[in-house]
């Protein structure tokens, strides 16, 4: 897993000080304060964490496929 297409998600490739995207999403979607806002109330049926994983995995797979490597 050293493909450059994955580097944006790779914690080791983050410049110091910047939080890796996957860590940031863990926190912005999975932990912390949940204040139901006006819009988020109507989004309550959507599991945001699932949305996140779906979006990330889909993108990673698409990139790997584009790079000509199959995904098991």
């Amino acid at each position: 897993m050293t493909s450059s297409t994955l580097e944006s998600l790779d914690t080791r490739s983050e410049p110091t000080g910047q939080i890796a995207l996957v860590d940031l999403l863990d926190r912005l979607l999975g932990t912390g304060v949940v204040l139901a806002g006006d819009v988020v109330i109507s989004l309550a049926g959507v599991d945001l964490v699932q949305v996140r994983l779906h979006a990330l995995v889909t993108t990673v797979r698409a990139e790997m496929a584009a790079a000509g490597r199959g995904v098991a």
């Binding site: 790779d10 863990d26 912390g32 304060v33 806002g37 819009v39 988020v40 989004l43 949305v51 995995v57």
Partner: protein
């Protein structure tokens, strides 16, 4: 004229809004604050075409959009965290107007104050441990046997290698436990987040620890040193330390 709403980044205390000038919000919109009963909500205007229910459903599936918003959200939270205690809000917390913001501050007033008390003067650190999944040196090949003995020898080798892998896994989990315990002892609070999927992070091996630690600012040096020592003492696991970050994992609202 497009319809806008207030995107909430964080609730803080004792933050001078003038010091937020110069930090852009999402889509370059200026930050402003809704100051209510001593609590400060940091917000900016967003277009409901993108941040309304329909827009969000569409956009949250788009990694580039999600990343841009997550980074923009974090930039603001980091800026606010430098000015005072902060409770970051979940991504895409949106109120239609400032009255809506004030209503949330009223509704959660005590819990927000308690959360701000809990994180004041403290920072979040992330420590992760990874176990090497590769099997240890392959068991020595035994001399070829024939007849009934061959099958039994094969099964025996198979069993031995399964046991070896299982005990390596047990040791890795036990080490993660010990690392977490040691670091939790240096923290005001700690929690173990879900291990991350290697498909998302690109890491090798199994993540055995995805720990978040709330550490006093004054203790940060000692905490990082302890984590580095643990990493040096256990070369069989890879241990990564990141921080300090705003207290994302600890600014929770307890319903009390």
């Amino acid at each position: 004229m497009t319809e806008t709403a207030a995107y909430l980044y964080a609730i803080a205390r004792g933050v001078d809004p003038d010091r937020l000038a110069g930090t852009p919000g999402l889509d370059g919109e200026p930050l402003r604050v809704v100051d209510h009963r001593g609590l400060v909500a940091v917000v900016s205007e967003v277009d409901l075409a993108d941040y309304g229910e329909e827009g969000l459903r569409r956009n949250l599936e788009d990694l580039a959009w999600l990343e841009q918003v997550a980074r923009g959200h974090d930039d603001v939270v980091q800026r606010v965290a430098a000015l005072g205690p902060v409770t970051p809000l979940r991504l895409a917390t949106i109120c239609l107007d400032d009255d809506g913001v004030r209503a949330r501050l009223d509704e959660w007033y005590d819990a927000l104050q308690a959360a701000l008390d809990r994180v004041q003067g403290r920072q979040e650190w992330s420590v992760k441990a990874y176990a090497d999944d590769r099997p240890a040196a392959a068991p020595a090949e035994e001399p070829a046997t024939t007849g009934a003995g061959a099958g039994a020898a094969y099964l025996q080798r198979k069993k031995a290698s399964t046991l070896q892998r299982a005990s390596a896994q047990d040791r890795a989990l036990e080490l993660a436990e010990r690392v977490h315990h040691a670091l939790a002892g240096r923290s005001v609070a700690s929690r173990r987040l879900q291990p991350q999927d290697p498909r998302l992070t690109g890491h090798e091996g199994t993540m055995t620890l995805n720990g978040a630690y709330l550490v006093e600012e004054a203790e940060a040096g000692a905490f990082a040193m302890e984590a580095d020592e643990l990493a040096a003492a256990h070369p069989e696991a890879r241990i990564e330390v990141h921080g300090p970050w705003p207290p994302y994992s600890f600014a929770t609202l307890d319903p009390t």
